[in-house]
Structures are given as C-alpha cells and as structure tokens.
Symmetry: C3
C-alpha cells in the first residue's frame, strides 16, 4: 500500500529510472528516493575507498558502490569497519565523506535488503543502519560531508551526522528526508538529527511532505552549510577541515559530545525496540506486496 503511493509520485520511479538508464539532463536528478533496487554487483571491489593523509591527519572516504551508493548491508558493514578503523587511529583527526559515483552522493537504503528477506535478516540490516548513524554522529573526528550529488533519505541522514555539510551548487541535485513520499516514515532518530540541524518547524514541514530541497533551498533552511561549484566540493572540504583542526581536539570533542549525547543516548536506549518496529513494519504482507510490484515495474522499464 505504502509503495503503491510511491509509484504514483512524480519523483519516485521515473526519477530513479532516468538516473539508472539514461543521460537525461533536463530535470533535477531525482535519484531513487529512499529505496534503491541496485543492480547486484558481485565483484569484490571495495565499496568504500579510504585515502588517509598522515601529514594532515585527514582521511577522505570515497563511496564507490555503483550505481548510486545505495546503503546495502554489505555497504554499511564495510563503511562502518572503515570508520571504526579511522576512529581508533589516533593520528586520524578528520574525515571527509564523498562519492565517486556521478550525480549522486548516496541514494539511501537498498530496497533489496527489505524484500523477501527473513525477519532476522531485516533486523540485521536495520541494526547496520543504526550503527552507521551511531558511529558517525558520535565520532571524535571532525566529519565533513562533501556532497557532490543528490542525497535523498538515508544519504541525507548520513550528511546530517557530519559536523559540516558542503554541497555542489548544481540545481539538478536535491537533498532531504523524503520518506513519506514513498509511504514510509523516517524513524525518530532521523527526525531528531534533522531537528538538531534545522529546528522543529522546518523538520515538521520537511518530514510531513517528504521535501527534497535544491541546494539553494537546503542552504536557506540550514540543511547544508555551504554551496560551492561542483568541481570545488572536495577542495573546499579540505580547506574547511584545516580550520576545524585548528581547534584543540579535546575541547572540541567534549563540546560535540555535550551537544549530541542526549540524541545518541535516546537511540542507544531504544535500539532493540526500534529494530523490532522496523522489522514488523517491513515484513507486513501489504508492504512486501508493494515492494514486489515496485520491483516488477523496475524490471519492465529496464527491459
């Protein structure tokens, strides 16, 4: 039922298909909001490439999971292992997250992790989504999102966990927590992260309507901090990092924890209930049926 609504939405399926199959450049690049049926890629190519410059103490993490860096269980696992490694390396003080895929930062959660899977597997997936958020939102490193493409749903969430967000000033890109447009709901900790960033009322409007913002709109409401030309996103992130690293780590880390700990503690204390809640929702017959229809339509269009 929920996903049928997505099929009717202007931005759901057609956006995804144009992203996956064409080079249309007329409309905003509306990559698969929330749910991505990613082509399986069985190669052992790492989904994440880390470049760590020991002279500066800054690591750049390139997400390189074609076509749209969707957040599959494999991707999230690899992502979190890499973040944890950097976190434990005391010489690494800053982390820049960016995408190696054209036009997209990350398209959000992978639909295939939710369709036809056992409750156990769904639970494992959701725990991995939580883990990504927990690791990033509480990171002792300075974290900067170098958003060089569209960043809907889970991709937006990943950006929101960072200390600073720099986005490519390309009006064809968009960013937002657009879950409701597909008939699903951003969980409370997505909401809390957004409230901490843009305030209660903007979050209420954004989440109720599932708004995707253009870069300039996102800047205006505070969803991102800075817009730069597309080819300057990463260099600007590097320059910005230098300013952040001029602050003594210890004082910055205590301050960051003071700002974010209540929000982190909330998910930590409700983690199992949140997993249960997700699993019982996603394994409903009606939701699974909608997912099947959605996937079949995807196949036909590809065919």
């Amino acid at each position: 039922m929920a996903l049928r609504a997505a099929l009717r939405s202007k931005c759901g399926l057609p956006g995804l298909l144009s992203q996956l199959s064409s080079h249309s450049s007329h409309a905003r690049v509306c990559v698969s909001p929330v749910l991505v049926a990613q082509q399986r890629n069985n190669s052992t190519t790492p989904k994440v490439k880390v470049e760590f410059d020991q002279s500066t103490g800054v690591a750049v993490m390139h997400m390189q999971s074609p076509p749209v860096n969707s957040l599959s269980l494999d991707f999230l696992t690899e992502f979190c292992i890499n973040v944890e490694k950097l976190e434990m390396d005391k010489t690494c003080r800053g982390l820049i997250i960016t995408s190696s895929q054209p036009k997209v930062f990350s398209a959000g959660l992978d639909i295939m992790e939710m369709y036809g899977k056992s409750p156990e597997r769904c639970g494992e997936f959701w725990r991995a989504v939580q883990e990504m958020w927990l690791k990033l939102y509480s990171s002792d490193m300075v974290t900067i999102a170098a958003i060089n493409g569209s960043s809907p749903a889970g991709g937006c969430l990943m950006s929101l966990t960072c200390d600073y967000r720099i986005m490519a000033d390309n009006p064809r890109y968009s960013i937002g927590l657009n879950e409701t447009q597909l008939g699903i709901v951003a969980p409370f900790w997505f909401k809390d992260t957004m409230v901490n960033t843009v305030g209660h009322r903007t979050t209420e409007l954004a989440l109720e309507l599932g708004l995707l913002y253009s870069p300039s709109e996102a800047l205006k409401v505070g969803l991102v901090d800075l817009l730069v030309p597309e080819d300057e996103v990463l260099t600007t992130a590097t320059k910005t990092m230098t300013k952040w690293l001029a602050i003594p780590d210890h004082a910055r880390q205590i301050t960051k924890s003071m700002m974010r700990k209540p929000t982190i503690d909330k998910l930590t204390s409700k983690r199992e209930a949140d997993i249960q809640n997700f699993v019982s929702f996603i394994t409903k017959d009606s939701i699974q049926k909608s997912l099947r229809m959605y996937l079949e339509m995807l196949k036909k269009r590809r065919g």
Copy 2:
C-alpha cells in the same frame, strides 16, 4: 489589576472598539486582543459552517460568529463537534479553517466566559479551550489555516495548531499571542505550540512583549508560512491542500504524531492542574474587578 494595564495599552480597548463600532480604516485592525466582550447573539444560527467536498476529501470550516468569532463556550463546543465529525469521517482528509467575518480570523477568548461566572463554569470553559487545541493539534487530517483577518491570542493559537498557515497580505491585520499586553499570561501549551513553530528565542520575545506581528513580520519569523492577496487566501489554501494530499495519509499521520505527541502528552497529563490554575487566577477578586471595569468602559463607549 491585570486588566487595568490593558486599559492603558494602546492596542487593547480602542482597538476593540474601533473594530466593533466603526469603519475606521486608518490603523491596523487591532481586534480585541485576548478578551472579547461579544454582543450576545441568541439566534440559533450555527457559529460554524462546514462545506465538505466529497470529490476532493476536503472540508472548509467557515467561522461565522459575529462580530469577531470570539471563542465562547458555545462557539468552542460547536467547533469541536464539527471537527470531531470530520475526523471520524474517513473520506475527509483535509480541513481548511477560515472566517466569514470581515477583517478578523478570530479575536480570541470571550471575556464574558470569565466574568461573574462560577468556578465550575470557568473550568468548563477552559476545558473547551483545551479541547479545541487537543483536537486540532493532533488531527489526522491535513489542517490549513486560511487567515483572512487579524488573529490575536486564541485566534493565533488556533492557527498555530494547523499544518500550514496562509495569511492575507494586508498590513492592517496582525497575528500573535499578545496576552501579556493585557496583564495575563499564555499558558504553557500556548507557549509550547509557539516554540515548536518559531523557536525558543522568538517565542520568548513575542510572549514577554505580547507582540502582534504584521503579516510580513509574521512571515519573517515563521509564524505564518505564506502571504497572498486577501482575495486569494482561500483558493491558495485549496491549491496547497492538493499538494499535501498527494502524500500518503498513513505516513504523513505517523510523522505528524511523531513531531507533536510529546507536546500533546504534556497537556494531557497536566490537564486538570491547568484548569485549576486558570480558574483560581480568573476568579480572583482583583481580576474580576478589572473585568467589571473593562466591561463598564466598553458599555460607556458604545453608549
């Protein structure tokens, strides 16, 4: 004591009188902030007219209680019954609230409900004010305020409960929680609703000073979402509703509840104490004396 202050304020009595008795068009229409001594209207004309379009699923509720849609016990009772009917009708998905009275959306609480009444009656009145807020702020319907006139105090509160606020771009109208200007205090749930809309600092300033905002000021601080020419308020509300109804109801409703439930639960759990608090304040000799003087002055000016 409290209301004596109101008599001294520039915006209190003269504003009300000009609204009730004249057609002065030089000053901002400053309809009775907070307290309205409405001429009794014993006719059985409904105080609220509901037009429900089953083809769109949208109801328009016209407030038509002359002269200024003040919130009397009768008005609130009729209003709530109508909201509840629509809420229970699963074919009704959206509610637009507007006024049939010229120049005013709603002028707020009716002073006559607070003067010379028994504590029981005062308590009954306050429970009805709470009920209006609870019903609207937690409504499963999309609610849009089509604010086609001034909207002080209780009228502003009613607007704030809606999902979206569209106001007539007429500089003679104003909106705000101006209780302190009259020496009384907006209760915590008025405050919470405003904080959720415009944030802590703007609320602090607005409530301490009892600020009434012009439409353009209200737009700037986020008290309303959109300004349109006066004759386009209702049509714009209807168009806006269409966009909101494109979002799957279930996802939007869960999201709305997630944003508002803590605020609603707070009043629900303190409801009786809040009534007691109001009754003990309003039945004080000093307050009743002030109300009498206020009413006598009203009579003289009318005479």
Copy 3:
C-alpha cells in the same frame, strides 16, 4: 595542554596583548578570550557603578574594572550584591548593563582566579560565576545588555542572560563563546543559554569552533537583537527599556519564568557537581602548567 593550544591560536595571546598594551586599530579588537590576566588593582574603587533613576524605575550598571572588566571573584561578588539590591528594591523594574571601559564590554573569566589557587578557592570562584548567571537569567527585572565593546566568553554569557541585547555596530568588536579556541569547554549551562537564544545548530557550530562573531554576524544568527552606532548604545537601551516597561510586570515575569525555569532548574540541581567538575579540571597539573607558561609569556611581552 589545553592552554598551550591557546598560545598557538591566532586570537588568544596576541589579541589580549594588543588590547592591554597598545592602541593598534588595524585588527578586530580581540580582547583576551575567556581568560584574562588582569593587572591587580588594590584600590577600593568600586568595580561596578550603579545609577538608579527612581522616576523611571531603571538602573544602569556600569562595569568599571580596568582594564577589561574581567570576571574576578571580587568583581563577581560586587556585581551580584548590586544586582540583588536592585532585585529587592521593588521600585526598580529595569536594569541596563554596560561597560565604562573602552572597547570592551567584559573580557570574561579572570585567569588569576584559576592559577595556583586551592581547590576551595577555585570552587568559591566557580560558585560566583554560577551565581551571576542564576541571578541575571532569573531576574524579575527587565534586563538589557548595552554591549559597547567586545564580549567574548564570560562576557558573552552575561549578555545572553539579558532579555535584550543591543550592540555597538563596530566591526572591530566581537562576541561569542570562544572557549574551545583556548582548549577549554563551555559548561552545559553556557550551552543551554546559547541554545535558547540561537538554536541547536548555530550553538553546535559556534561552540565546536569557538566562534567570535562580528556585530553584523551576531545580529544575523540572533546572538544580539539590535545594532546601533557606538555612541547610541546606551540611549537606545534606555528607549528600548521604556517599551518593555509598558508591559505589566507580573505577566511579563511569569512569562519569563515559564521560558527560562527548566534551564535554571537544571543548573540548580547540578550545581555542586558542576563546581566539582570545574575544580578537578582546572587544578590538573597539566592545566596549571599551561597557565604558568601563559602568564610568564604575558609578563615577558609586557616587559
């Protein structure tokens, strides 16, 4: 360790020295962020001068502790006694706080209160800082900060406790909670006060980076409410006070308490733990060593 970082920072020591020893006018007046090693002044000249106009009910408190109104234990004690006197005088309804020192409102906490002192003395000092905040943030009087100079760290905190902030529009002045720049951390109640004023995200950025804002930047983020030419700061504060005093005291006071009580209660309930926390931090060998080096460098530069 913490203060070593400060010595490396561009804004720390040189800023202080230029303020104390020169008349350089090329750079923003960056008075001693956070920690001030004030020249001892053993005279019995009052550190605070109060002018109370009984005809208006408004007191003006001039901070006159050379050179930069640093918040020593003596200063804070004298300041709090004067605030308390005014608070208890029911004819005093409004308080304007301003500086008699050139170029600076207040430079923040006095470093000499933290160096080589016993834990008991450090605790006494911190209790006085808390007391200043508690007295001002919960004052029944209308409080207006007439910020006629730079206002870093503790000076910024003092401003934030007021009902309204008017700052001199001089781009050489700055305001902000810049503690992290020196390797120390603003405590939770500094943070809470700032969140209540400018919201969560702006506070997160400001505190993590220890940002000092120019007056126009401060106005933009809401850290101050109004900018006026330097010679009009006090007269504008007086005019603004008149508007605030037009509101009935009782209603305004209840409203102010409703907005601020949760934040005040939080410190009140954690007051002893907060003192312990400060004392154990500031008496660490590493911190004391850094303070010694900082002070020695100050002496050399003066020599």
